[in-house]
């Protein structure tokens, strides 16, 4: 989608809302989807569309765990660190994943593919440990299983780019 098309989509969302501001999170999420993260320019764009000041958008953006105000990799890997996953070896799982990817939490792999972030309970507690990539929840993870999923994500991206 070009930026113009995106602007039209967002304007539609905003006019369908009860007040423009109601659409703020939706607008931030769409812009983030487009740019990869909520860049300073995207934040100003959101403010302009919503009739808010950039600061008003910033105070929203920084409130949410899944709005990224810093550059992230192609895919953000959110690993649950809450109690049910913890009880099923979540801490071990996360540190193994750090070792396999060669990064610490909060960092991005050198190829720009993955950013690793711990996150709040993903509501997949019966399938602990668990992670969220994009819109997809994965459960009953071991580090081997998680790496296979990540390898697949990388291959999918390479395939998309080859097309």
């Amino acid at each position: 989608m070009t930026s113009d098309e995106l602007r039209q989509t967002l304007k539609k969302k905003i006019s369908a809302a009860v007040t423009p501001r109601e659409a703020a999170v939706a607008v931030m999420k769409e812009l983030q989807g487009h740019y990869g993260w909520l860049t300073d320019a995207a934040l100003r764009e959101a403010a302009d569309l919503l009739g808010l000041s950039p600061l008003q958008v910033e105070e929203l953006a920084t409130f949410y765990e899944m709005i990224y105000r810093r550059p992230v990799g192609n895919k953000v890997v959110h690993v649950c660190d809450s109690i049910s996953c913890w009880a099923m070896g979540g801490e071990t799982f996360l540190s193994q994943l750090e070792a396999e990817l060669g990064i610490h939490v909060g960092e991005t792999t050198a190829d720009g593919m993955f950013t690793l972030l711990p996150c709040c309970c993903l509501g997949n507690c019966g399938n602990a440990p668990t992670m969220l990539i994009g819109d997809k929840l994965y459960g009953e993870l071991s580090v081997e299983k998680a790496m296979a999923i990540l390898t697949n994500e990388r291959e999918e991206k390479e395939k998309r780019e080859a097309r």
Partner: protein
């Protein structure tokens, strides 16, 4: 055993709109709109004894009755699907299997309080549930079950989805309303209560997914039927219990309210994993005081669990075995709450990191006996916070102090954690390895 919430579930997939209708779905909506007044729908829910399934357990019908009928301007129904309480995943399981009971219940709720528009506030990560709901909304609109003049009646109602971006506090109903309005999701002062002054200043009812999904059954079959579903005389309805931790089958089950904890663990949950013995559990999500083995016979109903010193909460039962360090488990929970504090009020913003520090020191073998009384003081002190987040956070600390004092003292006196497994969150190999 009747399972009104799971009765339409199909193995491995979501029920279709056609199947739901063929199986009697939307019959309650028809009955409600054509044979009952809004007041009668409200009375039925009140008489049923349905208590909120989101954590607080406030009677749903009573909440509706607080909406003043004489105030001008729009009023609103909000479904709280911001299910972020650690250990809780019942709303996701319900909506991935069937979005229609919720939609039907929401239209009935809107009818009962006279709302023209309703919202579903859904958390990030529940994209399958959100897609099911959006599809369901479109199907209902096309079939005249939603929108203008529903089923040929004078009543009109729309349901809109609002997708969030991940923040625990949004599940607190006043914070949720700020979030929905596009403001930073700090909680609001109560009173005025949302029923009087809520979303955009209008009367608002905020109900949990499971609460609303129970409404069609109550309207169709009556309050007495609903009361009869529970195992305890004072209870009403079934409950979605979602199990996690060291049990054989950590799944979500629809069971009669009041089923004893031991029966849930040994029955549907398949008992403890091989080699595991029950040590403790969070009976109703992350903000409820621990139960230890002494509470295994407690009937899992609101009053009985409260009498036993905890809360039924969301019904998210997190089970821990003998190798779990309860100090480390509490530390994990407090880290969560300290991070999720919205920062609005001082007791929560400053108190939780302090409690976290105390527990970190104790777990690292660097605590002192004095820390125990500091923790005890903080259970009281954090009650001064603005909303229920910090008191909820202190629930597990309270449970630690009342059931596992010996473990706390051992950490302090021996200057180390006695559990090798506990330090690393359990020495468990995840299934499938």
């Amino acid at each position: 055993m009747e399972q009104p919430l799971f009765q339409h579930n199909k193995p491995g997939r979501c029920v279709t709109f056609a199947e739901y209708r063929e199986e009697g779905g939307f019959g309650a909506l028809k009955k409600g709109l054509q044979e009952m007044s809004p007041g009668e729908v409200q009375q039925a829910v009140q008489d049923s004894g349905l208590r909120g399934r989101g954590g607080a357990g406030f009677p749903t019908g009573k909440k509706w009755s607080f909406v003043p009928q004489d105030l001008p301007g729009p009023r609103w129904v909000i479904c709280n699907c911001d299910e972020m309480e650690p250990g809780t995943y019942k709303d996701r399981v319900l909506l991935e299997a069937n979005p229609y009971s919720l939609l039907e219940g929401m239209v009935l709720a809107a009818y009962a309080i006279g709302a023209r528009q309703a919202f579903i506030f859904i958390r990030r990560g529940y994209e399958t549930a959100a897609a099911n709901l959006q599809r369901g909304i479109d199907e209902c609109l096309a079939a005249g079950l939603l929108g203008e003049n529903i089923l040929g009646s004078d009543f009109s109602c729309d349901i809109n989805m609002h997708s969030s971006a991940g923040r625990y506090i949004c599940g607190e109903e006043t914070a949720l309303m700020n979030a929905l309005e596009g403001k930073r999701a700090n909680p609001r002062a109560k009173p005025p209560f949302p029923a009087v002054k809520g979303l955009w200043g209008g009367p608002t009812v905020v109900n949990n997914v499971e609460s609303l999904a129970n409404v069609p059954g109550i309207v169709a079959k009556g309050p007495e039927w609903f009361k009869g579903l529970a195992k305890t005389p004072e209870g009403a309805g079934t409950k979605l219990f979602c199990l996690s931790g060291h049990v054989v089958t950590p799944s979500c089950f629809e069971l009669p309210l009041g089923m004893p904890l031991a029966e849930i663990i040994d029955g549907p949950a398949g008992g403890m994993r091989p080699g595991s013995r029950f040590k403790a559990c969070l009976p109703g999500g992350a903000s409820t005081p621990f139960f230890s083995a002494g509470q295994l016979p407690v009937p899992m109903d609101f009053d009985a669990v409260a009498k036993a010193g905890s809360r039924l909460g969301t019904g998210g039962i997190v089970v821990f075995d003998q190798d779990t360090c309860m100090v480390a488990a509490t530390l994990n929970l407090i880290r969560f709450y300290a991070r999720e504090s919205c920062g609005w009020c001082t007791p929560c913003r400053e108190g939780l990191p302090y409690v976290r520090y105390m527990l970190e020191q104790i777990e690292a073998g660097e605590g002192s006996r004095e820390y125990i009384s500091i923790l005890q003081d903080h259970v009281q002190l954090l009650d001064y916070s603005f909303c229920a987040l910090a008191p909820g956070a202190m629930g597990p600390v309270q449970g630690l102090l009342s059931h596992f004092m010996d473990e706390l003292e051992e950490h302090i006196d021996t200057e180390r954690c006695p559990f090798t497994a506990g330090k690393n969150g359990g020495a468990y190999t995840p299934p499938g390895v």
